[in-house]
């Protein structure tokens, strides 16, 4: 029993996303598919799942070629996928999500709820998943939502299960629980493809590791024959420095003081609940935590994008609680937003236009109502050079740039002045290793020039590597504070919220 992808090629307009890729997985085997963002892993999996059609190449199950026109065909052939962004309807219950598309019915298409509930309970018990079939998805923590996805796949009798970046939304402890589930699936004879860019996890869980780079499969190795540095080199194509170089911090005056801040999210829940902390000039404070624990709303409140319900935000002693985003900008706060495409850039605008987005109204870029475009272009040219933005020109739409270079455009725009406070949210999400190294070094440089820096990231490794001090956010509160020398395990435990630790670990 084997699933084999042979010679898969996928040509998109202008991009060769997959170039003669080979991958096979047997039943009862775990194969890790490693690669950087943009290496073509997701494209390959979308082909396997019937969402894309390959330009060339074949998919075979047990030696028989198969062709999938839609995900329905792939499901029927025994392939299940747990997507990186969960494919769950937030307002439906667990049972409704599990049966969707494969509903047990009575006469007249009436759904047999009892049967649906039993199916969920059955699978949940067999694999020890502990999921309540009647809970509504949007009320569940991400880790449980992932289990719902797994139940969905199992309910459809999948023999091969693909996990697309499954650990990126989990806390370290949740990752351990997830690995146990994967092992029990393996023991049950399922073939598993584990897509990741996390080297340690691949080494820990996989029977075999396949590495992709720029649309090609470049290597296939056994975990016992290689280490993290070796994998990183295969992934990136050159030796990589996995550590951030920085001198010890030299904190001075308090720049940002947050007191008892409470912020409501879009659904009027207290997603930030009485948070207090300070950031000093010359130090990097990292906020770790699983996504969705209030970090987004915290950053929005600090940058003026969301009015807090209560509490105080002071910048160098001045009350900025209800300041507008422009007021924050004028107080020399640099903001690197968490979603560069949604709130960091205007994608159809050119590099130049994006670079002046925060200062177009000031001298010398505009005089009265007239814009000085020569001045704007001069600035763009200078910053593109200075920040190593790889772009065909300053007049191309920023949407043509790679993720890493888009991020550099934002960093250039925000850092090009005397910055007092840097607020950077997920500064390196989804960008290549080269850009990550560069952006990290720029952030450290700002610190050394005397800025206070607040980093928010759900990548624990990133927070630990960059920060001089780490705060952990859990359920809208600060659940712990650590200095740079703390161990990842310690911080990881706090990310679960100490009170819920016992319960979650079971």
């Amino acid at each position: 029993m084997e699933l084999a992808l042979t010679g898969i090629t996928k040509q998109f307009p202008g991009v060769l996303a997959n170039d003669n890729v080979n991958l096979r997985v047997a039943e009862g085997e775990i194969v890790a598919l490693l690669g950087e963002n943009g290496a073509g892993k997701t494209t390959l999996m979308n082909i396997l799942y019937g969402l894309y059609h390959p330009t060339a190449g074949t998919v075979e199950i047990d030696g028989k070629p198969v062709q999938f026109q839609s995900p329905g065909d792939a499901i029927d052939a025994g392939i299940g996928m747990v997507h990186q962004h969960f494919m769950l309807v937030p307002v439906f219950t667990v049972a409704e999500n599990v049966i969707l598309g494969d509903e047990p019915t009575k006469r007249l298409g009436v759904i047999n709820r009892a049967k649906a509930r039993d199916a969920v309970t059955e699978i949940s018990r067999r694999y020890n998943l502990d999921v309540d079939p009647d809970a509504t998805i949007e009320d569940l923590p991400v880790g449980i939502q992932q289990r719902v996805e797994i139940i969905k796949v199992l309910e459809r009798q999948a023999r091969f299960v693909v996990f697309d970046e499954p650990t990126s939304v989990l806390t370290p402890t949740e990752v351990d629980g997830f690995f146990e589930i994967v092992q029990s699936l393996k023991a049950d004879g399922k073939g598993i493809i584990f897509i990741s860019h996390k080297l340690g996890e691949a080494l820990e869980i996989a029977d075999r590791i396949v590495i992709m780079r720029r649309g090609k499969t470049v290597a296939e190795v056994l975990p016992k024959d290689i280490d993290e540095a070796g994998l990183a080199e295969l992934m990136v194509g050159r030796p990589v420095d996995l550590v951030v170089d920085k001198a010890p911090a030299d904190p001075k005056d308090v720049v940002l003081a947050v007191e008892n801040l409470t912020v409501l999210d879009d659904r009027n829940r207290r997603s930030v609940d009485g948070v207090s902390f300070q950031v000093r000039s010359g130090e990097i404070v990292g906020i770790a935590g699983v996504q969705g624990n209030g970090q987004t709303e915290l950053v929005e409140a600090l940058t003026g994008l969301r009015t807090p319900l209560g509490g105080r935000v002071r910048l160098k002693g001045e009350d900025m609680t209800t300041a507008s985003p422009r007021a924050m900008h004028q107080a020399n706060v640099a903001h690197v937003p968490e979603d560069r495409q949604k709130s960091g850039l205007v994608l159809p605008f050119t590099v130049t236009e994006n670079i002046i987005l925060n200062s177009y109204y000031e001298e010398p870029l505009s005089r009265g109502v007239i814009m000085d475009w020569d001045e704007a272009r001069d600035r763009a040219t200078r910053l593109v050079e200075e920040y190593d933005v790889r772009t065909p020109g300053i007049d191309v739409p920023v949407s043509n740039l790679s993720g890493g270079n888009q991020q550099k455009v934002i960093v250039a725009r925000e850092f090009d002045r005397d910055v007092a406070l840097v607020i950077a949210s997920q500064p390196t999400r989804g960008i290549d290793v080269g850009s990550i190294e560069y952006i990290h070094s720029r952030i450290v440089e700002e610190r050394d020039l005397g800025a206070a820096v607040l980093i928010v990231s759900s990548e624990l490794e990133e927070v630990m590597a960059l920060s001089d001090r780490v705060l952990v956010m859990y359920a809208g509160k600060i659940a712990g504070e650590f200095d740079a020398s703390a161990s990842t395990t310690e911080v990881g435990l706090a990310m679960l919220g100490s009170a819920d630790e016992a319960e979650e670990a079971s």
């Binding site: 894309y52 499901i75 494919m87 307002v91 439906f92 969905k152 008892n260 509490g311 509160k477």
Partner: protein, 422 residues
């Protein structure tokens, strides 16, 4: 450094949106109470009584006589009490209930004032409310049928109007049942056009709907002038007759109000029940809602998003066609230019007011039906209010409702967004 986990007193920067809304509503209610006291209670002679007729002609007589002034005093006091309670903001969740009760009482005080020293058929008014609610409710059901799969149907107005036209012509030529079928198919065809424009060509759904409405108004007006005015025999389809429901129809007041109508009214009740059951208890409903909430999730489990959308938008068209047939085959039995006069848009407002739920659509339809009835019936009573203001009532109610008296409700998450398969 302070690690705050204790529930210290938070210094408030602002109230939550619900609280601010409760304050606004409380103030409005107190103002309404003052208005009732000033105009309705102190504005009438203390000796006047209002006589409400609670039976239809031919049924056993039933009347309710009440002192106009005393009733208004009681209502003013009650509304003021509710307003004060809402202002205290102790039970913000129940603000809407207080608002609903207060507004119903206001309507009662208003009718009492209008009927002071006169006799007024309350049951006739309530019956008319039900009749006029039918096209609004059907419009709302048509709209929610589409929006539950994330297609915004602004074209309800055009569907009603065109269906009403085809209903009258086909009904006159081949009988009323042919008129009904013709009208429903017309609605479905326009639904198909909307579906093609918004699903296949991904035209902005609002614009596509508006285009259909303008087209429908122009086409039916032109044809009415060119054909119906020269061959009036094509504009007299006759009507579906009224049937009293056995037993239920004999209940005092409620029987006359709800169970003594033509089949369109009963059809609407049945449709509300069927749609509610269908949406929340069947495979079709689960899949439809999934397509409206998270089309990609539906796609990844093998549900054909496009086909589901086409199908439901055409079902929505059938419902709007049924509503259009009601206008010319039951309500007035002839077509006139712009016969609908915005009922389709009011239906859309009723859909929002009813929070995308079939029973909500029915309730909201009744509220708008009441407003439409006021516009018609109060002229007869001869109130000092100019008739132009009375004509505004339904639209005024629409604006108030849509502007958010009902508070924020949650539309299907993908509403209005085209689904792009990549």
């Amino acid at each position: 450094m302070a690690v705050t986990t204790s529930p210290e007193i938070v210094e408030k920067v602002r109230a939550t949106p619900e609280e601010r809304r409760a304050t606004a509503i409380g103030i409005v209610l107190v103002a309404i109470a003052a208005f009732v006291l000033w105009v309705f209670a102190l504005g009438v002679d203390s000796s006047f009584v209002s006589t409400f007729n609670l039976s239809l002609p031919g049924d056993p007589d039933l009347t309710w006589v009440v002192s106009s002034q005393v009733l208004s005093f009681v209502v003013a006091a009650t509304i003021a009490f509710i307003g004060g309670w809402v202002l205290r903001r102790t039970h913000v969740k129940w603000t809407n209930l207080g608002l609903a009760i207060a507004l119903s009482l206001f309507a009662l005080a208003f009718l009492t004032w209008a009927a002071a020293d006169k006799s007024f058929s309350l049951v006739g008014m309530l019956r008319s409310t039900v009749i006029l609610s039918v096209p609004v409710t059907l419009g709302a059901l048509s709209g929610l049928m589409c929006e539950r799969v994330a297609i915004i149907n602004i074209a309800i107005e055009g569907q009603l109007l065109t269906a009403a036209f085809v209903g009258t012509v086909a009904g006159s030529a081949w009988g009323i049942w042919a008129g009904l079928i013709g009208a429903m198919l017309t609605g479905a065809i326009l639904g198909f056009v909307l579906a093609v424009l918004s699903i296949r060509y991904r035209i902005d759904q609002i614009i596509a709907g508006v285009v259909i409405n303008i087209f429908a108004l122009g086409l039916t007006s032109f044809l009415a002038r060119r054909i119906l005015s020269v061959t009036p025999e094509l504009n007299s389809p006759g009507r579906f007759s009224t049937h009293k429901v056995p037993l239920l129809g004999d209940i005092p007041v409620l029987g006359s109000m709800f169970f003594n109508h033509n089949m369109f009214v009963y059809g609407t009740y049945i449709l509300v029940i069927v749609l509610h059951f269908g949406l929340f208890y069947t495979r079709w409903g689960l899949r439809s809602r999934a397509v409206g909430e998270h089309p990609k999730a539906a796609d990844t489990v093998g549900i054909d998003v496009y086909r589901t959308r086409y199908r439901n938008v055409m079902y929505g068209g059938l419902i709007a066609g049924f509503g259009g047939a009601f206008l010319t085959l039951a309500q007035v039995s002839r077509f006139e230019e712009n016969l609908t006069a915005g009922v389709g848009y009011i239906g859309l407002a009723a859909m929002i007011f009813g929070r995308w739920m079939p029973f909500g659509a029915l309730g909201a339809g009744l509220v708008f039906g009441f407003a439409l009835t006021l516009q018609q019936k109060l002229g007869i009573l001869g109130t000092p209010i100019p008739s132009e203001f009375l004509s505004m009532t339904p639209y005024l109610v629409t604006i108030i409702v849509v502007a958010g008296v009902v508070g924020r409700s949650r539309p299907p998450a993908a509403d209005g967004q085209p689904y792009i398969k990549d």
